[in-house]
């Protein structure tokens, strides 16, 4: 069955109140959405809280979803917004207080040396503000203007936060490589 038809039927069943369809909907999208939420939050528990809120919002508003649009994109938008709201409520003061970093050369990143869990853990080590901007810009593909609108900051702030995120990640990765080499020696 084509995915669009599958999505359409699944949405219809959910709108009809079919409990099994709710579960099917959840099973189909939860893994991917949890991975997105996990990149924005610091722990899996926080990410699951975000995911729970995301699905409740989605089920509540599924009838109003424009079926010509992509359901995955719609759900991704919900989970990102929910995560950002959670971060605002949690640590508003932490968002943009980042100490000046020493200049780090950002060259070729040895990302292939790390698995998914490692890479996400690197992202999660970033300060919250940098983490959000990095996820939105590098992974989700938002522009700085879109990020500025989404986070109610200026484009300049978004760019500087992203630059700092890159430098921090470089530093984290370098230190991780150093630690690994020391273990080997």
């Amino acid at each position: 069955m084509p995915k669009s038809n599958f999505e359409h039927e699944l949405i219809q069943k959910c709108c009809d109140g079919n409990r099994a369809a709710y579960r099917e909907f959840y099973e189909f999208y939860a893994g991917e959405l949890l991975a997105i939420a996990f990149r924005y939050m610091k722990t899996k528990q926080e990410a699951e809280d975000v995911l729970q809120e995301t699905f409740i919002k989605a089920f509540k508003n599924l009838a109003s979803f424009n079926r010509q649009a992509s359901l995955k994109t719609w759900l991704t938008t919900i989970v990102i917004n929910t995560a950002l709201n959670a971060l605002r409520n949690q640590h508003n003061s932490r968002l943009w207080k980042i100490s000046e970093l020493e200049s780090v050369e950002i060259s070729t990143l040895p990302l292939d040396n790390y698995n998914y869990t490692d890479l996400v853990s690197f992202i999660q080590q970033l300060p919250v503000g940098c983490q959000s901007v990095f996820n939105l810009y590098a992974i989700e593909g938002y522009s700085h203007k879109e990020i500025a609108d989404l986070l109610s900051i200026s484009q300049g702030t978004s760019k500087s936060q992203y630059h700092r995120a890159k430098m921090l990640l470089q530093k984290i990765i370098v230190s991780e490589e150093t630690r690994t080499k020391q273990k080997v020696i």
């Binding site: 219809q12 709108c15 009809d16 109140g17 079919n18 409990r19 709710y22 579960r23 959840y26 939860a30 893994g31 991917e32 949890l34 991975a35 996990f38 990149r39 899996k44 990410a47 699951e48 995911l51 729970q52 699905f55 409740i56 089920f59 509540k60 009838a63 109003s64 979803f65 424009n66 079926r67 950002i106 990143l109 990302l111 292939d112 790390y114 998914y116 890479l119 996400v120 992202i123 810009y137 590098a138 992974i139 593909g141 890159k166």
Partner: protein, 417 residues
């Protein structure tokens, strides 16, 4: 397109999946149950409100009171002038023994006969007919015991325009096209019935009396004697059966159209009779009244029936869009009159085509409706519907007569795509 750096990261961490804990779904399901519980209460309240509206409006808004009783003084003055000029004896004189009898207790029941050039001014109606007067409300009721004689009834070709032109009461008959929408294309089968008050014949009967004789609006009192027409109407009924189709417009809106057979029926009582060759007879609704042949006699029941082919088109929007849906809609209906039928127990049934009466052959009505639909399975749904319908164009050619109605119905739907 982002740079190589971003592409590396996206490729490395994008599109991943993390298995959530089982407890997460349990929490979500628990929250959904709470949400659903509150929505069920909202839905139940709306069902109750819908039923209340459907059944209470016909009782409270219906035009149950006759408002066509005319200015009797005007009639009496005209009657006197007319009578005096023709037959000054008896009728124009309040001292006449006959009138004294009429204004009295009614032990001897009389009726006025103003026949042009006739030799008698007062005719007695059968002695077993009695009368009573309620002066407080300035109305007169004849309590009829006698059966009107039923022979020699004549049909008349008198122009009925006057009669219909003064049908001043708009009436409420609940008739309304029930429709239903679901996502996708639905075939509809609708069945709708309702009740309401109807005032169809009040103006008709009273003006039949007077237009022919005096060009006025109604006969009434003279020296305490009220020879007013007694007329009352019971609750009207309507029946609709039809089929149709709905087509979605976007995700929420839907347009519906179809065709159906609509029957409006109103029953009433009247006591207008005429003096036929072979005795007193009920006055045919569309019959002419010869000058001087107005009589009040026993009441008789009549039934008016209008038949239409109805073609409604409307749009609907969901207010609640779940398994049980609550939707509001509005639209327009084009109704093609098939025939108008009059039936009374004391004279023959008469059926008229639209061209023979002054009803318009095509009328437009506005529709506002609400429905609650429940999906039985993938294809079948059932809906309860209530709504309001009011004429946009008058049903009468000469009079602003806009029928309106409240009613409820049931609709079965089959989803074809």
């Amino acid at each position: 397109m982002k740079g190589l750096y971003e592409q590396h990261w996206k490729r490395a961490v994008g599109g991943a999946r993390i298995e959530p804990s089982e407890a997460l779904w349990n929490n979500i399901a628990s929250n959904l149950d709470k949400e659903r519980g509150s929505n069920y209460w909202v839905t139940l309240l709306m069902i109750a409100a819908t039923i209340t509206i459907a059944f209470s409006f016909p009782l409270t808004i219906g035009n149950s009171a006759f408002e066509v009783l005319p200015d009797t003084n005007q009639f009496v003055a005209q009657l006197e002038a007319n009578t005096n000029s023709n037959q000054p004896a008896n009728l124009g004189s309040t001292d006449s023994p006959a009138n004294k009898q009429l204004s009295g207790s009614g032990s001897e029941n009389k009726v006025l006969n103003t026949a042009k050039g006739n030799e008698e001014s007062i005719n007695e109606i059968p002695p077993h007919t009695s009368s009573s007067v309620d002066k407080n409300v300035n109305s007169f009721n004849l309590i009829k015991n006698a059966k009107a004689q039923n022979t020699g009834f004549e049909s008349f070709s008198w122009n009925i325009n006057y009669q219909l032109a003064d049908l001043s009461n708009y009436y409420i008959i609940p008739y309304y096209m029930p429709e239903k929408i679901d996502e996708g294309r639905n075939l509809l089968a609708s069945l709708n019935m309702g009740t309401g008050n109807a005032s169809i014949s009040g103006g008709l009967f009273s003006n039949t009396l007077l237009e022919s004789d005096y060009g006025m609006s109604l006969s009434n009192s003279k020296d305490g004697f009220s020879n007013a027409v007694e007329q009352s109407e019971s609750t009207g009924t309507a029946f609709y059966m039809g089929t149709g189709i709905e087509l979605p417009m976007g995700n929420k809106w839907a347009v519906l159209t179809g065709i159906g057979y609509l029957v409006q029926k109103a029953e009433g009582v009247n006591n207008v009779v005429r003096n036929g060759k072979n005795g007193y007879r009920p006055l045919s609704i569309y019959a002419p009244v010869k000058t001087g042949s107005i009589f009040l006699s026993e009441s008789y029941q009549y039934t008016l029936i209008n038949n239409y082919i109805s073609v409604p088109i409307s749009v609907k929007y969901p207010i609640i869009n779940r398994k049980m849906k609550f939707r509001a809609g509005a639209g327009i209906s084009t109704d093609f009159m098939l025939r108008h039928t009059i039936n009374a127990e004391t004279f023959n049934k008469a059926s008229y085509k639209p061209a023979e009466v002054d009803y318009k052959p095509i009328v437009l009505s506005g529709l506002v409706n609400f429905d609650i639909r429940y999906s039985l399975n993938k294809h079948y749904s059932v809906a309860l519907e209530t709504g309001f319908r009011r004429g946009i164009t008058p049903i009468d050619k000469n009079k602003d007569l806009y029928p309106s109605s409240f009613t409820g119905g049931i609709v079965l739907l089959y989803k074809i795509r």
